[in-house]
Protein backbone atom coordinates (compact mmCIF):
# COMPACT_ATOMS: atom_id res chain seq x y z
CA UNK A 1 0.00 0.00 0.00
CA UNK A 2 2.99 2.27 -0.35
CA UNK A 3 1.75 4.22 -3.33
CA UNK A 4 -1.86 4.26 -2.33
CA UNK A 5 -3.58 6.90 -0.31
CA UNK A 6 -3.81 5.29 3.14
CA UNK A 7 -6.98 7.22 4.01
CA UNK A 8 -9.07 5.80 1.18
CA UNK A 9 -10.84 2.50 1.94
CA UNK A 10 -10.86 -0.49 -0.38
CA UNK A 11 -14.26 -1.68 -1.58
CA UNK A 12 -15.50 -5.01 -0.24
CA UNK A 13 -18.68 -7.06 -0.46
CA UNK A 14 -20.33 -8.57 2.58
CA UNK A 15 -20.52 -12.20 1.54
CA UNK A 16 -21.79 -13.65 4.76
CA UNK A 17 -23.26 -12.50 8.07
CA UNK A 18 -23.33 -14.79 11.07
CA UNK A 19 -25.47 -13.89 14.02
CA UNK A 20 -23.21 -15.06 16.84
CA UNK A 21 -25.13 -14.65 20.08
CA UNK A 22 -28.59 -14.89 21.60
CA UNK A 23 -28.77 -11.16 22.14
CA UNK A 24 -28.21 -10.56 18.39
CA UNK A 25 -25.87 -7.66 19.05
CA UNK A 26 -22.71 -9.45 17.94
CA UNK A 27 -22.37 -10.53 14.34
CA UNK A 28 -19.49 -11.84 12.28
CA UNK A 29 -19.18 -10.22 8.86
CA UNK A 30 -17.30 -11.94 6.08
CA UNK A 31 -15.93 -9.58 3.45
CA UNK A 32 -14.64 -10.34 -0.03
CA UNK A 33 -12.52 -7.80 -1.84
CA UNK A 34 -13.90 -6.44 -5.08
CA UNK A 35 -10.40 -5.87 -6.49
CA UNK A 36 -7.97 -8.75 -6.67
CA UNK A 37 -4.98 -6.47 -6.07
CA UNK A 38 -6.58 -5.19 -2.87
CA UNK A 39 -6.95 -8.76 -1.66
CA UNK A 40 -3.34 -9.51 -2.52
CA UNK A 41 -2.26 -6.33 -0.72
CA UNK A 42 -4.22 -7.14 2.41
CA UNK A 43 -1.54 -9.32 3.99
CA UNK A 44 -2.25 -9.68 7.64
CA UNK A 45 -1.40 -11.73 10.69
CA UNK A 46 -3.54 -12.55 13.72
CA UNK A 47 -3.92 -9.62 16.11
CA UNK A 48 -4.01 -6.88 13.49
CA UNK A 49 -7.07 -4.78 12.89
CA UNK A 50 -8.85 -2.98 10.11
CA UNK A 51 -10.97 0.14 9.80
CA UNK A 52 -14.48 -0.74 8.70
CA UNK A 53 -15.68 2.16 6.65
CA UNK A 54 -19.20 3.18 5.69
CA UNK A 55 -19.49 6.49 3.89
CA UNK A 56 -21.88 8.79 5.68
CA UNK A 57 -21.38 6.99 8.99
CA UNK A 58 -17.66 6.92 9.53
CA UNK A 59 -15.04 4.35 10.36
CA UNK A 60 -14.62 1.91 13.18
CA UNK A 61 -11.42 0.07 14.14
CA UNK A 62 -12.14 -3.65 14.59
CA UNK A 63 -9.81 -6.58 15.17
CA UNK A 64 -9.59 -9.13 12.36
CA UNK A 65 -11.36 -12.32 13.45
CA UNK A 66 -10.37 -14.57 10.58
CA UNK A 67 -6.97 -16.15 10.14
CA UNK A 68 -4.74 -15.46 7.14
CA UNK A 69 -4.93 -19.19 6.51
CA UNK A 70 -8.55 -18.69 5.50
CA UNK A 71 -8.17 -17.57 1.91
CA UNK A 72 -10.48 -15.44 -0.16
CA UNK A 73 -12.07 -13.38 2.56
CA UNK A 74 -11.59 -11.59 5.88
CA UNK A 75 -13.91 -11.71 8.83
CA UNK A 76 -14.66 -9.19 11.52
CA UNK A 77 -16.81 -9.83 14.55
CA UNK A 78 -18.58 -6.64 15.51
CA UNK A 79 -20.60 -5.72 18.54
CA UNK A 80 -23.25 -3.08 18.12
CA UNK A 81 -21.95 -0.24 20.30
CA UNK A 82 -24.06 2.49 21.72
CA UNK A 83 -24.67 2.06 25.43
CA UNK A 84 -23.21 5.51 26.04
CA UNK A 85 -22.06 6.92 22.73
CA UNK A 86 -24.19 6.03 19.75
CA UNK A 87 -21.99 3.74 17.64
CA UNK A 88 -22.75 5.12 14.20
CA UNK A 89 -20.71 2.61 12.22
CA UNK A 90 -21.50 -0.51 14.19
CA UNK A 91 -25.24 0.24 14.18
CA UNK A 92 -25.20 0.81 10.43
CA UNK A 93 -23.19 -2.36 9.93
CA UNK A 94 -25.70 -4.39 11.90
CA UNK A 95 -28.45 -3.14 9.60
CA UNK A 96 -26.62 -4.26 6.47
CA UNK A 97 -27.39 -7.38 4.51
CA UNK A 98 -25.34 -9.95 2.65
CA UNK A 99 -24.29 -8.67 -0.73
CA UNK A 100 -23.95 -5.07 0.39
CA UNK A 101 -20.80 -3.12 -0.46
CA UNK A 102 -18.69 -1.13 1.96
CA UNK A 103 -15.07 -0.25 2.64
CA UNK A 104 -12.08 -1.54 4.59
CA UNK A 105 -8.74 0.01 5.38
CA UNK A 106 -5.90 -2.10 6.63
CA UNK A 107 -4.38 -4.28 7.79
CA UNK A 108 -3.33 -1.97 10.59
CA UNK A 109 -1.30 -2.28 13.75
CA UNK A 110 1.03 -4.98 15.01
CA UNK A 111 0.08 -8.64 15.16
CA UNK A 112 0.47 -11.07 18.02
CA UNK A 113 4.25 -11.71 18.21
CA UNK A 114 4.18 -14.96 16.24
CA UNK A 115 7.95 -15.35 16.01
CA UNK A 116 8.25 -14.96 19.74
CA UNK A 117 5.45 -17.46 20.28
CA UNK A 118 7.06 -20.11 18.10
CA UNK A 119 8.31 -23.13 19.99
CA UNK A 120 6.58 -22.00 23.16
CA UNK A 121 3.63 -23.35 25.06
CA UNK A 122 0.74 -21.01 24.44
CA UNK A 123 -1.98 -20.18 26.92
CA UNK A 124 -4.88 -18.27 25.43
CA UNK A 125 -7.32 -16.60 27.77
CA UNK A 126 -10.35 -14.84 26.35
CA UNK A 127 -13.46 -13.32 27.79
CA UNK A 128 -16.70 -12.46 26.05
CA UNK A 129 -16.57 -10.41 22.92
CA UNK A 130 -12.80 -9.83 23.11
CA UNK A 131 -12.17 -13.34 21.80
CA UNK A 132 -12.07 -12.27 18.14
CA UNK A 133 -8.36 -11.80 17.45
CA UNK A 134 -7.62 -14.79 19.71
CA UNK A 135 -9.80 -16.88 17.45
CA UNK A 136 -7.68 -15.65 14.57
CA UNK A 137 -4.56 -16.69 16.42
CA UNK A 138 -5.91 -20.13 17.31
CA UNK A 139 -7.02 -20.86 13.75
CA UNK A 140 -3.62 -19.73 12.53
CA UNK A 141 -1.70 -21.93 14.95
CA UNK A 142 -3.73 -25.09 14.34
CA UNK A 143 -3.73 -24.76 10.56
CA UNK A 144 -1.96 -27.68 8.90
CA UNK A 145 1.76 -27.68 9.50
CA UNK A 146 1.64 -24.48 11.52
CA UNK A 147 0.69 -26.59 14.52
CA UNK A 148 4.19 -28.07 14.65
CA UNK A 149 5.72 -24.66 15.20
CA UNK A 150 4.09 -24.26 18.60
CA UNK A 151 4.21 -26.25 21.81
CA UNK A 152 1.12 -27.12 23.79
CA UNK A 153 -1.90 -24.87 23.32
CA UNK A 154 -4.23 -24.26 26.22
CA UNK A 155 -7.39 -22.23 25.63
CA UNK A 156 -9.53 -20.78 28.38
CA UNK A 157 -12.55 -18.99 27.05
CA UNK A 158 -15.45 -17.65 29.07
CA UNK A 159 -18.69 -15.80 28.48
CA UNK A 160 -21.46 -14.64 30.78
CA UNK A 161 -23.79 -17.44 29.66
CA UNK A 162 -23.81 -20.17 26.99
CA UNK A 163 -25.82 -18.04 24.61
CA UNK A 164 -23.09 -15.41 24.54
CA UNK A 165 -20.28 -17.70 23.41
CA UNK A 166 -18.86 -16.77 20.01
CA UNK A 167 -17.90 -19.19 17.24
CA UNK A 168 -19.90 -22.06 18.71
CA UNK A 169 -19.28 -24.41 15.76
CA UNK A 170 -15.55 -23.90 15.91
CA UNK A 171 -15.52 -24.47 19.66
CA UNK A 172 -17.04 -27.91 19.00
CA UNK A 173 -14.44 -28.67 16.32
CA UNK A 174 -11.57 -27.51 18.55
CA UNK A 175 -12.95 -29.63 21.38
CA UNK A 176 -12.54 -32.73 19.23
CA UNK A 177 -8.84 -32.14 18.67
CA UNK A 178 -6.35 -33.86 20.88
CA UNK A 179 -3.62 -31.28 20.35
CA UNK A 180 -5.62 -28.54 22.06
CA UNK A 181 -6.54 -28.18 25.69
CA UNK A 182 -9.82 -26.34 25.36
CA UNK A 183 -11.62 -25.05 28.43
CA UNK A 184 -14.85 -23.21 27.77
CA UNK A 185 -16.61 -21.77 30.76
CA UNK A 186 -19.66 -19.65 31.46
CA UNK A 187 -20.34 -17.41 34.41
CA UNK A 188 -23.85 -18.75 34.68
CA UNK A 189 -24.96 -22.00 33.09
CA UNK A 190 -28.42 -22.79 31.76
CA UNK A 191 -30.29 -26.11 31.76
CA UNK A 192 -28.73 -27.29 28.51
CA UNK A 193 -25.13 -26.39 29.39
CA UNK A 194 -22.92 -29.37 30.09
CA UNK A 195 -19.59 -27.64 30.32
CA UNK A 196 -17.80 -25.72 33.01
CA UNK A 197 -19.38 -23.07 35.11
CA UNK A 198 -17.23 -20.43 36.75
CA UNK A 199 -15.39 -17.20 36.16
CA UNK A 200 -12.35 -17.11 33.91
CA UNK A 201 -9.82 -16.33 36.70
CA UNK A 202 -11.04 -19.30 38.74
CA UNK A 203 -10.79 -21.59 35.72
CA UNK A 204 -7.27 -20.33 35.03
CA UNK A 205 -6.31 -21.24 38.55
CA UNK A 206 -7.82 -24.68 38.14
CA UNK A 207 -6.26 -25.40 34.76
CA UNK A 208 -3.00 -23.99 36.09
CA UNK A 209 -0.88 -23.91 32.93
CA UNK A 210 2.81 -24.29 33.67
CA UNK A 211 5.04 -21.26 33.33
CA UNK A 212 7.92 -23.15 31.73
CA UNK A 213 8.57 -21.92 28.22
CA UNK A 214 5.03 -20.53 28.21
CA UNK A 215 3.39 -17.33 27.03
CA UNK A 216 -0.08 -16.20 28.04
CA UNK A 217 -2.15 -14.22 25.55
CA UNK A 218 -5.00 -12.52 27.34
CA UNK A 219 -7.90 -10.53 25.97
CA UNK A 220 -11.09 -9.63 27.71
CA UNK A 221 -13.11 -7.04 29.53
CA UNK A 222 -11.16 -4.94 32.05
CA UNK A 223 -12.72 -6.66 35.03
CA UNK A 224 -11.67 -10.09 33.76
CA UNK A 225 -8.13 -8.87 33.09
CA UNK A 226 -7.89 -7.36 36.55
CA UNK A 227 -8.67 -10.66 38.27
CA UNK A 228 -6.89 -12.93 35.79
CA UNK A 229 -3.48 -11.27 35.87
CA UNK A 230 -2.82 -12.08 39.55
CA UNK A 231 -3.50 -15.74 38.78
CA UNK A 232 -0.78 -15.74 36.16
CA UNK A 233 1.61 -13.84 38.39
CA UNK A 234 1.01 -16.51 41.03
CA UNK A 235 1.69 -19.19 38.45
CA UNK A 236 5.03 -17.53 37.89
CA UNK A 237 4.51 -15.93 34.48
CA UNK A 238 6.78 -12.96 33.89
CA UNK A 239 5.36 -9.70 32.58
CA UNK A 240 7.24 -10.15 29.31
CA UNK A 241 5.34 -13.40 28.80
CA UNK A 242 1.87 -12.01 29.30
CA UNK A 243 0.57 -10.38 26.14
CA UNK A 244 -2.60 -8.43 25.65
CA UNK A 245 -4.28 -6.10 23.20
CA UNK A 246 -5.28 -2.53 24.04
CA UNK A 247 -8.40 -0.74 23.07
CA UNK A 248 -8.26 2.98 22.43
CA UNK A 249 -10.22 5.42 20.38
CA UNK A 250 -8.62 5.46 16.95
CA UNK A 251 -9.39 7.31 13.78
CA UNK A 252 -6.69 7.16 11.14
CA UNK A 253 -5.11 3.86 12.17
CA UNK A 254 -1.77 4.86 10.68
CA UNK A 255 -0.22 6.91 13.48
CA UNK A 256 -1.10 10.36 12.19
CA UNK A 257 -4.23 11.63 13.89
CA UNK A 258 -2.80 11.61 17.40
CA UNK A 259 -5.90 10.24 19.06
CA UNK A 260 -4.62 6.94 20.37
CA UNK A 261 -1.43 8.44 21.76
CA UNK A 262 -0.38 6.87 25.06
CA UNK A 263 2.96 8.11 26.24
CA UNK A 264 5.39 8.01 23.33
CA UNK A 265 3.43 5.21 21.63
CA UNK A 266 0.54 5.21 19.24
CA UNK A 267 -1.75 2.29 19.96
CA UNK A 268 -2.64 2.01 16.27
CA UNK A 269 0.92 1.58 14.99
CA UNK A 270 2.96 0.50 18.04
CA UNK A 271 0.14 -1.74 19.24
CA UNK A 272 -2.57 -2.72 19.79
CA UNK A 273 -0.61 -5.77 20.95
CA UNK A 274 1.62 -5.12 23.96
CA UNK A 275 3.22 -7.30 26.60
CA UNK A 276 2.63 -6.32 30.20
CA UNK A 277 6.31 -5.46 30.42
CA UNK A 278 5.86 -2.94 27.61
CA UNK A 279 2.71 -1.54 29.18
CA UNK A 280 4.59 -0.94 32.40
CA UNK A 281 6.80 1.48 30.50
CA UNK A 282 3.80 3.36 29.17
CA UNK A 283 1.91 6.07 30.98
CA UNK A 284 -1.17 4.61 32.60
CA UNK A 285 -3.76 6.34 30.46
CA UNK A 286 -5.75 3.84 28.44
Amino acid sequence: MTNKNPYIPMPVKISRIIDEVDTHDIKTFRFEFLNKEDEAGFKYLPGQFGELSIYGKGESPIGIASSPTQKGYVEFTVQRAGAVVPGMVTSALHEMEEGALMGIRGPLGKSWPLEYLEGKNIVIVGGGFAFTTLRSLINYMIYGKNRERFGSITIIYGARNPGLLLYKDELIEWGKRTDLNLNVTVDKADAAWKGREGFVPAVCKEVAPGKENAVAVICGPPVMIRFTLPVFFDLGFSKANIITSLEMRMKCGIGKCGRCNVGSKYVCTDGPVFSLAELDNLTQEY
Binding site: N5, P6, Y7, Y55, E247, R249, C257, S264, E285, Y286
Partner: protein, 351 residues
Protein backbone atom coordinates in the same frame (compact mmCIF):
# COMPACT_ATOMS: atom_id res chain seq x y z
CA UNK B 1 22.05 35.03 -4.36
CA UNK B 2 20.92 38.23 -2.67
CA UNK B 3 18.35 40.53 -4.23
CA UNK B 4 16.25 43.38 -3.01
CA UNK B 5 13.25 45.57 -3.55
CA UNK B 6 11.66 48.55 -1.83
CA UNK B 7 9.10 47.55 0.77
CA UNK B 8 6.50 49.79 -0.80
CA UNK B 9 6.85 47.78 -4.00
CA UNK B 10 5.88 44.56 -2.27
CA UNK B 11 2.53 44.43 -4.05
CA UNK B 12 4.36 44.31 -7.39
CA UNK B 13 6.22 41.24 -6.23
CA UNK B 14 2.92 39.82 -4.95
CA UNK B 15 1.36 40.31 -8.36
CA UNK B 16 4.19 38.39 -10.04
CA UNK B 17 3.90 35.52 -7.57
CA UNK B 18 0.14 35.41 -8.03
CA UNK B 19 0.68 34.90 -11.73
CA UNK B 20 3.07 32.03 -11.08
CA UNK B 21 0.76 30.25 -8.65
CA UNK B 22 -1.07 30.62 -5.37
CA UNK B 23 0.22 33.23 -2.97
CA UNK B 24 -0.36 32.79 0.76
CA UNK B 25 0.68 35.83 2.77
CA UNK B 26 -0.19 37.71 5.95
CA UNK B 27 -3.36 39.78 5.71
CA UNK B 28 -4.67 42.14 8.36
CA UNK B 29 -8.05 41.04 9.69
CA UNK B 30 -10.40 42.09 12.46
CA UNK B 31 -8.56 40.30 15.25
CA UNK B 32 -5.02 40.45 13.84
CA UNK B 33 -3.01 38.95 11.03
CA UNK B 34 -3.53 35.62 9.31
CA UNK B 35 -2.11 33.83 6.30
CA UNK B 36 -4.66 33.90 3.51
CA UNK B 37 -4.74 33.17 -0.16
CA UNK B 38 -4.17 36.55 -1.79
CA UNK B 39 -6.70 37.68 -4.34
CA UNK B 40 -5.62 41.31 -4.47
CA UNK B 41 -1.90 42.06 -4.45
CA UNK B 42 -2.48 45.09 -2.22
CA UNK B 43 -3.61 42.84 0.65
CA UNK B 44 -0.11 41.60 1.44
CA UNK B 45 0.92 43.28 4.65
CA UNK B 46 4.28 42.69 6.28
CA UNK B 47 3.67 45.03 9.22
CA UNK B 48 2.92 42.16 11.52
CA UNK B 49 4.63 40.53 14.43
CA UNK B 50 3.12 37.11 13.90
CA UNK B 51 -0.16 35.64 12.75
CA UNK B 52 -2.98 34.34 14.97
CA UNK B 53 -3.28 30.95 13.28
CA UNK B 54 0.07 29.42 12.46
CA UNK B 55 1.09 28.84 8.83
CA UNK B 56 0.74 25.08 9.33
CA UNK B 57 -2.70 25.61 7.81
CA UNK B 58 -1.00 26.01 4.43
CA UNK B 59 0.01 22.35 4.50
CA UNK B 60 -2.46 20.99 7.04
CA UNK B 61 -5.63 23.03 6.55
CA UNK B 62 -8.34 22.89 9.20
CA UNK B 63 -10.42 20.96 6.67
CA UNK B 64 -8.91 18.54 4.15
CA UNK B 65 -11.41 16.70 1.94
CA UNK B 66 -10.64 13.03 1.30
CA UNK B 67 -13.62 11.59 -0.54
CA UNK B 68 -16.96 12.74 -1.91
CA UNK B 69 -19.80 10.25 -1.68
CA UNK B 70 -23.54 10.05 -1.94
CA UNK B 71 -25.61 8.27 0.66
CA UNK B 72 -27.55 5.33 -0.65
CA UNK B 73 -25.09 4.89 -3.49
CA UNK B 74 -22.36 2.31 -3.78
CA UNK B 75 -18.89 2.87 -2.43
CA UNK B 76 -17.71 2.38 -6.01
CA UNK B 77 -19.26 5.71 -6.93
CA UNK B 78 -17.43 7.58 -4.21
CA UNK B 79 -14.72 9.80 -5.65
CA UNK B 80 -11.45 10.56 -3.90
CA UNK B 81 -10.65 14.26 -3.94
CA UNK B 82 -7.48 14.81 -5.93
CA UNK B 83 -5.13 17.58 -4.91
CA UNK B 84 -4.16 19.44 -8.05
CA UNK B 85 -1.98 22.17 -6.71
CA UNK B 86 -0.51 25.08 -8.52
CA UNK B 87 2.86 26.16 -7.14
CA UNK B 88 2.28 27.74 -3.73
CA UNK B 89 4.27 30.67 -2.37
CA UNK B 90 4.11 30.95 1.39
CA UNK B 91 5.27 34.46 2.01
CA UNK B 92 6.50 36.00 5.24
CA UNK B 93 6.88 33.04 7.59
CA UNK B 94 8.71 33.74 10.85
CA UNK B 95 11.78 31.58 11.60
CA UNK B 96 10.12 29.78 14.50
CA UNK B 97 7.21 28.78 12.28
CA UNK B 98 9.57 27.62 9.55
CA UNK B 99 11.11 25.34 12.14
CA UNK B 100 7.68 23.91 12.88
CA UNK B 101 7.41 22.56 9.32
CA UNK B 102 10.55 20.54 9.90
CA UNK B 103 9.03 19.00 13.03
CA UNK B 104 5.74 18.29 11.28
CA UNK B 105 7.64 16.70 8.38
CA UNK B 106 8.99 14.07 10.74
CA UNK B 107 5.48 13.19 11.80
CA UNK B 108 3.60 13.39 8.52
CA UNK B 109 6.12 12.20 5.98
CA UNK B 110 9.30 11.17 7.78
CA UNK B 111 8.13 8.21 9.84
CA UNK B 112 5.62 5.43 9.27
CA UNK B 113 2.92 5.91 6.68
CA UNK B 114 3.32 8.98 4.49
CA UNK B 115 0.48 11.45 4.61
CA UNK B 116 -0.14 12.19 0.92
CA UNK B 117 -1.85 15.52 1.54
CA UNK B 118 0.88 17.00 3.70
CA UNK B 119 3.55 15.74 1.32
CA UNK B 120 1.93 17.14 -1.82
CA UNK B 121 1.19 20.49 -0.28
CA UNK B 122 4.68 20.71 1.10
CA UNK B 123 6.29 19.86 -2.23
CA UNK B 124 4.20 22.44 -4.03
CA UNK B 125 5.32 25.22 -1.72
CA UNK B 126 8.18 27.67 -1.79
CA UNK B 127 8.72 29.25 1.60
CA UNK B 128 9.70 32.88 2.01
CA UNK B 129 11.00 33.10 5.57
CA UNK B 130 10.98 36.51 7.19
CA UNK B 131 13.22 37.58 10.08
CA UNK B 132 11.66 39.15 13.13
CA UNK B 133 12.30 42.86 13.48
CA UNK B 134 15.30 42.91 15.81
CA UNK B 135 14.77 46.55 16.66
CA UNK B 136 11.40 45.76 18.12
CA UNK B 137 11.03 44.19 21.57
CA UNK B 138 10.10 40.51 21.67
CA UNK B 139 6.54 39.67 22.58
CA UNK B 140 6.37 38.61 26.25
CA UNK B 141 4.73 35.33 25.29
CA UNK B 142 7.49 34.15 22.95
CA UNK B 143 10.38 31.86 23.85
CA UNK B 144 11.81 30.48 20.61
CA UNK B 145 15.29 31.61 21.61
CA UNK B 146 15.04 29.25 24.57
CA UNK B 147 14.52 26.38 22.15
CA UNK B 148 17.57 27.34 20.12
CA UNK B 149 15.76 29.11 17.31
CA UNK B 150 17.19 32.48 16.31
CA UNK B 151 14.97 35.41 15.47
CA UNK B 152 16.58 35.55 12.01
CA UNK B 153 17.36 31.90 11.25
CA UNK B 154 17.15 31.23 7.52
CA UNK B 155 17.30 27.38 7.77
CA UNK B 156 14.21 25.71 6.41
CA UNK B 157 13.19 28.62 4.21
CA UNK B 158 13.68 28.49 0.47
CA UNK B 159 14.17 32.23 0.36
CA UNK B 160 14.85 34.30 3.43
CA UNK B 161 13.85 37.93 3.81
CA UNK B 162 15.39 40.61 5.99
CA UNK B 163 14.20 44.19 6.23
CA UNK B 164 16.82 46.90 5.73
CA UNK B 165 15.43 50.37 6.27
CA UNK B 166 12.99 50.77 3.39
CA UNK B 167 14.21 47.75 1.50
CA UNK B 168 13.49 44.09 1.70
CA UNK B 169 16.48 41.79 1.07
CA UNK B 170 15.91 38.32 -0.40
CA UNK B 171 18.45 35.57 -0.10
CA UNK B 172 18.07 32.18 -1.73
CA UNK B 173 18.71 29.37 0.72
CA UNK B 174 17.78 26.28 -1.32
CA UNK B 175 18.14 25.47 -5.04
CA UNK B 176 14.38 25.80 -5.33
CA UNK B 177 14.61 29.28 -3.86
CA UNK B 178 17.54 30.18 -6.07
CA UNK B 179 15.65 29.20 -9.21
CA UNK B 180 12.67 31.27 -8.20
CA UNK B 181 14.79 34.25 -7.25
CA UNK B 182 16.44 34.16 -10.66
CA UNK B 183 13.02 34.29 -12.27
CA UNK B 184 11.92 37.28 -10.22
CA UNK B 185 13.41 39.87 -12.54
CA UNK B 186 11.64 42.76 -10.89
CA UNK B 187 14.00 42.38 -7.93
CA UNK B 188 17.29 44.25 -8.18
CA UNK B 189 20.76 43.00 -7.30
CA UNK B 190 21.85 43.75 -3.76
CA UNK B 191 25.04 45.65 -3.00
CA UNK B 192 28.03 44.46 -0.98
CA UNK B 193 26.74 46.59 1.89
CA UNK B 194 23.43 44.79 1.73
CA UNK B 195 25.22 41.45 1.87
CA UNK B 196 27.09 42.44 4.99
CA UNK B 197 23.94 43.80 6.54
CA UNK B 198 22.16 40.51 5.81
CA UNK B 199 24.87 38.34 7.36
CA UNK B 200 25.16 40.61 10.39
CA UNK B 201 21.42 40.56 10.85
CA UNK B 202 21.29 36.78 10.91
CA UNK B 203 24.09 36.68 13.43
CA UNK B 204 22.37 39.30 15.56
CA UNK B 205 19.24 37.16 15.50
CA UNK B 206 20.95 34.68 17.79
CA UNK B 207 21.48 37.33 20.41
CA UNK B 208 17.90 38.48 20.25
CA UNK B 209 16.63 37.23 23.57
CA UNK B 210 13.09 36.15 24.18
CA UNK B 211 11.97 36.02 27.73
CA UNK B 212 13.66 32.94 29.17
CA UNK B 213 17.17 31.74 29.70
CA UNK B 214 18.19 28.67 27.75
CA UNK B 215 17.28 25.25 29.04
CA UNK B 216 18.60 21.82 28.17
CA UNK B 217 15.89 20.23 26.00
CA UNK B 218 17.09 16.66 26.45
CA UNK B 219 16.69 16.88 30.19
CA UNK B 220 13.11 17.97 29.89
CA UNK B 221 11.76 14.64 28.62
CA UNK B 222 13.18 12.86 31.63
CA UNK B 223 11.81 15.46 34.01
CA UNK B 224 8.33 15.11 32.56
CA UNK B 225 8.48 11.34 32.73
CA UNK B 226 9.42 11.52 36.37
CA UNK B 227 6.50 13.78 37.26
CA UNK B 228 3.88 12.23 34.99
CA UNK B 229 2.19 10.57 37.92
CA UNK B 230 2.50 13.59 40.18
CA UNK B 231 -1.17 14.32 40.09
CA UNK B 232 -0.89 17.18 42.53
CA UNK B 233 1.50 19.00 40.22
CA UNK B 234 -0.74 18.59 37.20
CA UNK B 235 -3.86 19.54 39.07
CA UNK B 236 -2.18 22.69 40.24
CA UNK B 237 -1.01 23.82 36.84
CA UNK B 238 -4.36 23.01 35.25
CA UNK B 239 -6.55 24.72 37.85
CA UNK B 240 -7.25 27.59 35.50
CA UNK B 241 -7.43 25.57 32.28
CA UNK B 242 -10.82 25.75 30.58
CA UNK B 243 -10.11 22.80 28.32
CA UNK B 244 -10.94 24.74 25.18
CA UNK B 245 -9.15 24.25 21.89
CA UNK B 246 -7.48 27.63 21.38
CA UNK B 247 -3.93 26.55 22.21
CA UNK B 248 -3.98 23.56 19.91
CA UNK B 249 -5.69 25.35 17.03
CA UNK B 250 -3.21 28.22 16.94
CA UNK B 251 -0.22 25.95 17.53
CA UNK B 252 2.16 25.36 14.61
CA UNK B 253 3.05 21.83 15.72
CA UNK B 254 -0.29 20.41 16.89
CA UNK B 255 -1.38 17.84 14.33
CA UNK B 256 -4.25 15.91 15.89
CA UNK B 257 -7.25 15.53 13.66
CA UNK B 258 -10.57 13.83 13.39
CA UNK B 259 -11.96 12.13 10.32
CA UNK B 260 -15.58 13.14 9.82
CA UNK B 261 -18.25 12.11 7.37
CA UNK B 262 -20.28 15.24 6.77
CA UNK B 263 -23.44 14.70 4.78
CA UNK B 264 -26.02 17.20 3.55
CA UNK B 265 -28.83 16.56 1.11
CA UNK B 266 -27.49 13.02 0.55
CA UNK B 267 -24.16 14.34 -0.63
CA UNK B 268 -21.25 14.02 1.68
CA UNK B 269 -17.57 14.47 2.14
CA UNK B 270 -15.24 12.44 4.24
CA UNK B 271 -12.72 14.93 5.47
CA UNK B 272 -10.23 15.46 8.18
CA UNK B 273 -10.83 18.31 10.56
CA UNK B 274 -8.52 19.64 13.25
CA UNK B 275 -9.22 18.18 16.62
CA UNK B 276 -7.81 18.97 20.02
CA UNK B 277 -6.60 16.74 22.83
CA UNK B 278 -8.10 19.37 25.12
CA UNK B 279 -11.66 18.47 24.11
CA UNK B 280 -13.55 16.21 26.51
CA UNK B 281 -14.65 13.76 23.82
CA UNK B 282 -11.26 13.43 22.15
CA UNK B 283 -10.59 10.03 23.67
CA UNK B 284 -14.18 8.98 24.37
CA UNK B 285 -14.61 5.43 23.08
CA UNK B 286 -17.82 3.99 21.68
CA UNK B 287 -17.99 1.78 24.75
CA UNK B 288 -18.30 4.91 26.87
CA UNK B 289 -14.86 4.49 28.36
CA UNK B 290 -12.76 7.64 28.39
CA UNK B 291 -9.18 7.43 29.62
CA UNK B 292 -8.87 11.20 30.03
CA UNK B 293 -11.92 12.56 31.80
CA UNK B 294 -10.23 15.27 33.84
CA UNK B 295 -8.88 18.61 32.75
CA UNK B 296 -5.51 17.92 34.32
CA UNK B 297 -5.11 14.73 32.30
CA UNK B 298 -5.79 16.56 29.08
CA UNK B 299 -3.43 19.42 29.81
CA UNK B 300 -0.81 16.90 30.87
CA UNK B 301 -1.28 15.04 27.59
CA UNK B 302 -0.82 18.22 25.62
CA UNK B 303 2.32 19.34 27.38
CA UNK B 304 3.91 15.93 27.74
CA UNK B 305 3.18 15.21 24.11
CA UNK B 306 5.23 18.21 23.09
CA UNK B 307 7.97 18.08 25.69
CA UNK B 308 8.36 14.41 26.43
CA UNK B 309 6.63 11.93 24.12
CA UNK B 310 7.81 13.73 21.01
CA UNK B 311 11.40 13.71 22.17
CA UNK B 312 11.19 9.97 22.80
CA UNK B 313 9.43 9.19 19.55
CA UNK B 314 10.90 11.69 17.09
CA UNK B 315 13.90 13.07 18.94
CA UNK B 316 12.67 16.66 18.91
CA UNK B 317 10.70 18.96 21.16
CA UNK B 318 7.44 19.48 19.38
CA UNK B 319 7.30 23.18 20.21
CA UNK B 320 8.96 26.14 18.55
CA UNK B 321 8.30 28.80 21.18
CA UNK B 322 6.15 31.01 18.96
CA UNK B 323 4.08 31.88 22.04
CA UNK B 324 0.72 31.64 20.34
CA UNK B 325 -0.83 29.28 22.91
CA UNK B 326 0.13 31.63 25.70
CA UNK B 327 -0.92 34.75 23.82
CA UNK B 328 -4.39 33.47 22.96
CA UNK B 329 -5.14 31.44 26.08
CA UNK B 330 -8.33 32.91 27.55
CA UNK B 331 -6.98 32.41 31.07
CA UNK B 332 -3.31 33.21 30.39
CA UNK B 333 -1.90 29.75 30.94
CA UNK B 334 1.71 29.84 29.87
CA UNK B 335 3.15 26.61 28.56
CA UNK B 336 6.73 27.55 29.27
CA UNK B 337 6.02 28.47 32.88
CA UNK B 338 4.71 24.94 33.25
CA UNK B 339 7.84 23.55 31.63
CA UNK B 340 9.95 25.63 33.98
CA UNK B 341 7.99 24.43 36.97
CA UNK B 342 8.26 20.85 35.79
CA UNK B 343 12.01 21.13 35.58
CA UNK B 344 12.01 22.37 39.14
CA UNK B 345 9.42 19.80 40.18
CA UNK B 346 12.01 17.57 41.75
CA UNK B 347 12.01 20.09 44.52
CA UNK B 348 8.35 20.77 44.10
CA UNK B 349 6.87 19.27 47.22
CA UNK B 350 3.25 20.11 47.64
CA UNK B 351 0.93 18.51 50.16
Amino acid sequence: MLKKTAINKISELAAVLMEKGTLLAPVKEAAGFNFREISDAGQVNLHFHNTIISPKSAFFPQMEDFVRYQTGKSILEAAPVELNLKPVFLFGVRPCDVKSFEIMDIHFSGTGAVDPYWKKRREAATIFGHAFDLNEAADPAEFYHTLGIGAADPQGSDIFMVTKDNDLLFKSITPKGKKLLEELTMLTEASAGDRKYFEDYIARGHDYKTRFASVEPKAIATEFESIFDNREFWKNVSNACLSCGVCTFVCPTCYCFDICDETLFNKGTRRRVWDACMFTDFTLEASGHNPRTNVYQRLRQKICHKYSFSIRKYGVISCVGCGRCTRYCPVNIDIFSIVEQAVKAKWYKRL
